[in-house]
């Protein structure tokens, strides 16, 4: 059992390494283009909804806390608290996705989806800004997809916990799904300043 736990943990860490490289490709592309087109990229921050982005950041940090508390509850065998914390984490996850969906809708209304209908009112940057928005949707979209998968995993945990599968002797899935959840949160912690904040003050 001990070996199973440490194997599962190492497996999850290895998987997260893969995930870092997965997102790393996009962060790399972002870095390249940001240095190629600093002006165009800076101009896009004007179209990002910093308030909602900030709200989402807080929501995710809160969800990380409840996730950590869920693991703790499993460790000390507090079944009721475990369920409450999983439900809270799920709740925060859905709040995040809801806000994100609203932001996407805003972009749609403002014609900021890359493609034939893309409109940008800074004429010099009309082309290059599309690259940023492509990256914005690719990165936040991939992140949101990870959130959806995370929500699925949390639901699985919830069902399992109602069946009484977890105890202070066995909480491997709670722990490793927790690792995954924290990782997805951390990705957002990097996405938020890169996409929303850098240079935003210049438009005040």
């Amino acid at each position: 059992m001990e070996q199973q736990f440490s194997s599962a943990q190492l497996g999850m860490w290895a998987f997260l390494l893969t995930e870092i490289m997965f997102f790393g490709g996009m962060f790399g592309a972002y870095t390249v283009y940001r240095s190629m087109y600093p002006g165009a990229f800076q101009s896009t921050t004007h179209y990002m909804n910093v308030t909602l982005g900030m709200a989402n950041t807080l929501v995710l940090i809160a969800s990380s806390l409840t996730m950590a508390l869920a693991v703790r509850s499993a460790q000390v065998d507090n079944q009721k608290m475990l369920r409450i914390m999983i439900v809270l984490t799920l709740f925060f996850g859905f709040v995040f996705l809801g806000i994100k969906g609203y932001e996407y809708h805003e972009k749609w209304v403002e014609h900021l989806i890359p493609g034939p209908h893309f409109e940008y009112n800074v004429p010099n940057y009309a082309h290059q800004a599309q690259i940023l928005f492509f990256l914005y949707f690719a990165m936040t979209g991939t992140h949101a997809l990870h959130m959806v998968i995370g929500a699925g995993l949390l639901t699985y945990l919830l069902i399992k916990s109602y069946k009484g599968s977890f105890s202070s002797h066995y909480y491997t899935p709670v722990e490793i799904i927790g690792l995954y959840w924290h990782f997805v949160d951390i990705v957002w912690i990097f996405l938020f300043p890169l996409l929303y904040l850098i240079g935003a003050h210049l438009h005040a």
Binding site: S7, T18, M21, H127, F134
Partner: protein, 544 residues
């Protein structure tokens, strides 16, 4: 000796093959040995498919005129040859079959750390393979296996997205295999099986798995972005909006150069085992061979720019990439020297696996050294996109990995199937493969050096002599690859029963019966001696 208590066995004892019957017992198995067999069958299919594409390419090139296929069909043929051979044969070849079968046995474990994930990775591979085959059946793809934009994103009129999805999906199979191996090697080793006693085959797979874990996700996301770009007609590689197609090449080769080492390191691992066994000696310089595997894996991530010397990347970048590419020659050469030194004063036996090992060492050396020509900036400019490059990587991929794969398959065939293959036919086909291989690919060095470009279905008549030789050689090579298919299958039914350790080899996998029981060992093994203790108990000499 390592202590696995040998129980006398009758010939019909239970083993992993006969404990359960029926297709369900195979398709829902979590036994790493059965999954290895599933992989073996699937990759053999793709090897055959990729081989057929190769034969068609060689047929077209027998004459200078583009007479057999039109240029579009030809483009599809070499593209599908590349995609099938790289993503569906070479990358899974040794790791997913021999690695899957042997790693748990070599470290004295019952199975991999995550048996169900192991099965999942096979299913992912099959889904990817079906998508690939479907793509080809519907008309294929013509971008070359490298999917360079803007041709792939904008101009190609073939099924690029479907092919990209196939490659994307197959990547996850590879990642899961690598992840499983890493955790297994860390967590499942038998008592006494310390890292400095690990078989070098396992070290090679550890290095391979690191690449799979760190490189594959990058190409996955790159290909995903390319697919999005093609579907929505806008994206980050699109020059029309200021995007940079060269960025795709950077991201692509960041994985695909290390992927070359996914396709050679496991082969090197096999050669370590074979050379030690058939020279009756402990591998010379064990720590250096193990370390050079890791060295190759790490350096491999720092050399991708050598594919882009003529793209207009910064000259300083090219210089650094050139230097680092040459640095890879150091750990590679360490391996070659160590294999040679292992054989020195060994009592060498010339059975089939050893013949393949000889072939590997010679051909890999040529493949590696011609890599230095290509890593040198000045010669690279002349040789880029010529047949010299084609010859170079086939010397490494076929002369190296495929020979390593065949050698390993013969070496462990008795363990895997419990049957001996016919030695005469084994030796004969190893010889045919070696001759056919050189016949096929050596002329390509000459053609490329003389300036023949790759990826055209027609060429200037002065290159015909090289191409006729190459096509003739390919037919010989084809026979060499077909023979093992026939006699290995024959041996399943008519081959003599194999003893537990037909080669007198060292290693835990030889201490259990052939074929092994479902949980590999009747009693959990303990490793209480150095790896490769070929010096025997009589002398007590332990080198290293």
């Amino acid at each position: 000796m390592s202590t696995a208590i040998e129980t006398p066995r009758s010939t019909e004892t239970l083993n992993y093959l006969n404990t359960k019957y029926g297709w369900k017992s195979w398709l829902f198995t979590t036994d790493h040995k059965r999954i290895a067999i599933l992989y073996l069958i699937s990759i053999s299919f793709f090897f055959l498919l990729g081989g057929i594409f190769a034969m068609l390419v060689r047929l077209e090139l027998a004459t200078p005129a583009g007479d057999l296929f039109n240029s579009d069909t030809y483009n599809k043929l070499f593209t599908m040859h590349g995609i099938v051979m790289i993503f569906f044969f070479l990358i899974p070849s040794i790791p997913a079959t021999l690695g899957n079968f042997l790693i748990p046995m070599m470290i004295g474990a019952k199975d991999l750390a995550f048996p169900r994930i192991n099965l999942l990775s096979w299913y992912i591979y099959i889904v990817a393979g079906l998508i690939a085959v479907g793509t080809m059946a519907y008309g294929g793809v013509d971008t070359g296996w490298t999917f360079y934009p803007p041709f792939s994103s904008t101009y190609s009129r073939t099924y690029v997205v479907a092919a990209a999805i196939a490659v994307f999906v197959s990547g996850f199979s590879s990642i899961l295999t690598g992840l499983n191996f890493i955790v297994t090697i860390h967590k499942m080793r038998a008592p006494g099986m310390t890292f400095d006693r690990l078989p070098l085959f396992v070290w090679a797979h550890y290095a391979t798995s690191l690449i799979q874990l760190l490189g594959t996700p990058v190409v996955a996301i790159t290909i995903a972005l390319l697919g999005l770009e093609r579907i929505f007609h806008v994206g980050i590689f699109d020059p029309a909006i200021g995007g940079d197609p060269i960025l795709f090449q950077h991201l692509f080769w960041f994985y695909s150069h290390p992927a070359v080492y996914i396709m050679i390191l496991p082969g090197m691992g096999v050669i370590n085992e074979i050379v030690a066994c058939f020279s009756r000696k402990r591998p010379f310089g064990y720590p250096f061979i193990a370390g050079s595997s890791i060295g190759i894996a790490v350096l491999g991530f720092l050399v991708w720019g050598h594919h882009m010397f003529v793209t207009g990347q910064s000259m300083y970048a090219s210089l650094v990439f050139s230097l680092l590419s040459m640095a890879v020659a150091v750990p590679s050469a360490i391996k070659v020297f160590n294999w040679t030194a292992t054989m020195y004063k060994g009592s060498i036996r010339f059975e089939t696996p050893m013949l393949y090992a000889f072939g590997f060492i010679g051909l890999f050396t040529i493949g590696g050294l011609t890599g230095l020509f290509l890593a040198t900036l000045a010669t690279n400019v002349h040789l880029t996109d010529t047949y010299f490059v084609v010859a170079h990587f086939h010397y490494v991929m076929v002369g190296g990995m495929v020979l390593g794969y065949l050698g390993g398959l013969h070496f462990w065939w008795p363990k895997i199937t419990g049957r001996m293959y016919p030695e005469f036919w084994g030796k004969l086909s190893a010889l045919i493969v070696f001759v056919g291989f050189n016949f096929t690919f050596f002329p390509q060095f000459l053609a490329g050096y003389a300036g023949m470009p790759r990826r055209y279905h027609a060429y200037a008549p002065e290159y015909q002599v090289f191409n006729v030789m190459s096509t003739a050689g390919a037919s010989v090579l084809g026979i060499g690859f077909t023979l093992p298919l026939i006699y290995l299958i024959w041996s399943l039914f008519y081959g003599p029963k194999a003893p537990a350790n037909p080669w007198g080899a060292k290693g835990l996998e030889w201490e259990t019966s052939s074929p092994p029981p479902t949980y590999n060992f009747d009693t959990p093994p303990v490793m209480n001696e150095e790896a490769y203790n070929y010096s025997g108990d009589d002398t007590g000499v332990h080198v290293g």
